[in-house]
Amino acid sequence: MAFSSLSFLIFFLPVLLVLYYLIPRGTHRARNALLLAAGLALYAWAGVRFLPVLLSSAVLYWACGLAAAEGRPERLRRWAVPAAAVLGLGMLGYFKYTGFFAQILVSMGAGLTVPQIALPAGISFFTFKGLSYVADVRRGKIPAERGFFRVLFYVSLFPQVLSGPIERYPELAGELNGREETLERFSSGVVRFSAGLAKKAVLASAMGAVADAVFKKPAAALGAPVAWVGALAYTAQIYFDFSGYSDMAIGVGRLFGFEFPENFRYPYAAASVTDFWRRWHITLSSWFRDYVYIPLGGNRCSRLRNAFNIAAVWLLTGLWHGAAWTFVLWGAWYCVFLLGEKFLWGGALKKAPALGHVYTLLLVTLGWVFFRSATPGYAFRCIAAMFGGGASGTLGEAVYYLREYWPEAILCAVFSFPAVPWLEKKLRARGPRSAAAFVLDWAPKAAALALLLLSYLKLVTGSFNPFIYAKF
């Protein structure tokens, strides 16, 4: 059940809120039990058949966590993380990559049938959460949880279970025992949730309509104007779709007293590709940094080894997003530019930040072409078309998309950059007793309710669009 579905918005969420706040304050065990049941129900909505995958994953990480705990025999502790990795990633691999690797074998001449395996929702996210939990126990950062339901609660926490953020257990553990459900936090959750919903329902859906129309065209029919419009539309779609989802998750978390980690920090305002990855899907990037890059040696090694570590991380990052060569290429694309910035032109970029912004936006937009294309061949032809190597006569179509979706395009351009924080800073600078303070109190809340109503209108009158990251 997606956050942007009516089932969630006008049934699941209000019913859960009412039930949650009917439970007396201070009885977090009962409130947690309700949220756990809600998480499992929300997950089962996408197909009860996948529930055992989630439950068995939780059992695995709980058991491996116990094995990795301090005080256990070292022989047992040493095997806990590898066991969790082999079994957890094995499960992920089976559901996500069997078809991909079978396809590779078939293309090499193997006479086998490519299996069609349905992907359990959110498996990439809860697998990474579970693995980080076991690794953190092994590192002694946190004690192992004796109670299975606390680990199950963490793995299946309903605002995060489908598409993250990939929160670490140490960040959540304290909130499990006691969190403050305050009016201030609740109202900030309303603002954040409504903003995220509008990002998805108003902006991402409109940009998605353009991107879908362009990327369904045969490669031979792509010309420069329409290929650029398609690539830019997808650039906007994926940001407003995924950051919208993350805003909604953070907002829902606040409604129930949680404070989840930020996942985006205006990535399109980055001045380099390195900077972009500090701002985009932050919880995934930091997961790879802490559990893959640094254990491999990070940058405290030779240049060659460091380059290998970066390449390994980006191959895995690409594959994490999807089992297809386009995602491998997308990972390789970033690997090349991150290595370039680290060893070659990073210093020069810092001296020319304006150029850095243009350079970054260009590379990120081209990167999304790999991400969105059905095949590598299509991606290369699309990029060739963007630079003049495609069909002619597509200006009209590009103009149509711009004229048709001009309000959304302008809003995407404005809200891709930190316009709101800039405005907030300006108003705050006028002092706490000014009219600006009144505006700061009321405007976000009034805007949030207006956006909620606008989003409801779009959800009721449009067709349902699942979140892009829900399929990862």
């Binding site: 059940m1 579905s5 009516l6 089932s7 918005l9 006008i10 049934f11 969420l13 209000p14 019913v15 809120l17 009412v18 089962a44 909505w45 996408a46 197909g47 009860v48 058949r49 996948f50 009016l183 201030e184 609740f186 109202s187 309303v190 603002v191 409504s194 129309a213 065209k217 045969p218 031979a220 029919a221 069909a391 597509t394 200006l395 009209g396 179509e397 103009v399 149509y400 004229r403 048709e404 979706y405 001009w406 309000p407 303070a437 009144f438 109190d441 009321w442 809340k445 009034a446 949030a448 309710l449 909620l452 109503l453 409801y456 209108l457 779009k458 959800l459 009721v460 009158t461 349902f464």
Partner: protein
């Protein structure tokens, strides 16, 4: 209470009120089954089964049902369309190109492959040639009629950046005509006839895909005049002076205007043709007797739809005027036949009408062999000219 705290209460209470009201209104509102403007049935609540719960399809179908039955949906549809039309001023709203006084269909961008068009035209000509040969085998007469649909007729009114399908029509119509010439099939291209008159705007609807009754009348005249030229003028003809066009006062909710929920100001009224000397007839639809009328008249204060003509698309209609001395006619084709049929019956002893998109009791060949109509006419619009299925089918 501080301003900050008051704003927080406002946000929290407003949020809960919106969500809970939407839930309550959705649950309590009377259930409807049909969306008038969208012309479709609403989704029904799916049955919960072990399979659908396991696969997740129950959740998906429930979401579709909720979307259809959500509180305020009809009002929100109107509001959303109004915003698109008047605030965002989008050139295309609900798949409709919005122009001053004219609503046209939005066409997806396409690459026309002339070779593929030639191949399709050849296939169609083969099909039609087979039908013509069958009709002529017992002394009958076959005529294929090509009618320009609205976007072909008003193609020049599209903004330059939208696809009017002019390139496609420019390839398809000549290709089919060449193929029909080569196959010896008699045809008439009403687009040429309308063009010869200077393409007057009143020959096509401004809010619907079809020609107007005036366009249908010219088509009717072209058909009977051709037949009369062959037969020495034995068919009675509705001509100027022996019938009147009568305009209905009702709003014409053509398919394009319907997609815009009637929110764009284009005023158009449908007409009916009233002969000075009416011909009595009986009518049956799908074998069952029906009221002897060719116009499905609207309620006095209701909208009128294109289904005014012949009651819309019917699988099989037979109109018998009880004049055995006159020849019989079979007319088949897509919905462009409907308006023409309201005139054609007047000139024949019996008129049979088939819509092979829906009629399946007999093949076209068997139907012709069974009833051996003296005249067989197929009417199709430019969009459908090369579609070999449905009314483009051949005979076995």
């Amino acid at each position: 209470m501080t301003s900050k705290k008051a704003s927080q209460i406002f946000a929290a209470a407003g949020f809960l009120i919106v969500l809970l009201s939407a839930m309550a209104a959705t649950l309590l509102r009377p259930k409807e089954n049909y969306s008038y403007y969208e012309n479709r049935a609403y989704a029904e609540m799916p049955a919960l089964t072990a399979e659908s719960a396991a696969a997740g399809s129950w959740g998906e179908e429930t979401e579709s049902c909720l979307r259809d039955h959500a509180a305020g949906r009809a009002t929100l549809l109107r509001l959303n369309t109004w915003i698109d039309l008047y605030l965002a001023r989008r050139p295309v709203v609900n798949q409709t190109v919005v122009l001053d006084g004219l609503l046209l269909p939005w066409n997806d961008y396409e690459t026309v492959d002339p070779a593929a068009v030639e191949r399709q035209a050849g296939t169609m000509a083969q099909n039609l040639s087979g039908v013509a040969a069958l009709v002529e085998s017992y002394g009958g007469r076959y005529l294929y009629v090509e009618a320009p649909c609205q976007n072909a007729y008003f193609g020049s009114r599209y903004p330059w950046y939208l696809n009017s399908r002019a390139e496609y029509f420019g390839a398809a119509v000549p290709a089919l005509n060449r193929a029909l010439d080569a196959a010896g099939v008699d045809y008439v291209d009403m687009g040429e006839k309308f063009a010869a008159l200077g393409d007057p705007a009143e020959l096509s609807s401004r809010v619907d895909n079809h020609y107007s009754l005036a366009g249908a009348y010219l088509t009717y005249r072209e058909i009977v005049d051709r037949f009369n030229a062959d037969a020495g003028g034995t068919l009675p003809v509705l001509e100027d002076g022996n019938f009147q066009f009568s305009e209905l006062p009702n709003r014409y909710l053509g398919s394009r205007l319907r997609k815009l929920l009637g929110l764009w100001p284009v005023e158009e009224h449908l007409s009916i043709a009233v002969p000075d000397a009416p011909v009595a007839f009986t009518r049956s639809d799908d074998g069952a007797p029906n009221a002897p009328v060719v116009y499905s008249m609207p309620a006095a204060d209701g909208d009128v739809l294109y289904s005014l003509y012949m009651g819309g698309d019917v699988r099989e209609t037979v109109i018998d005027t009880g004049r055995p001395g006159l020849p019989t006619l079979l007319v088949y084709g897509d919905s462009f036949t409907n308006a023409a049929e309201t005139l054609l019956y007047y000139s024949f002893g019996e008129m049979r009408s088939l819509d092979l998109r829906q009629y399946s009791a007999m093949s076209l060949g068997d139907y012709i062999r069974t009833y051996r109509p003296d005249y067989v006419v197929c009417i199709r619009d430019y969009e459908a000219l090369l579609l070999a299925e449905g009314n483009g089918t051949g005979v076995d």
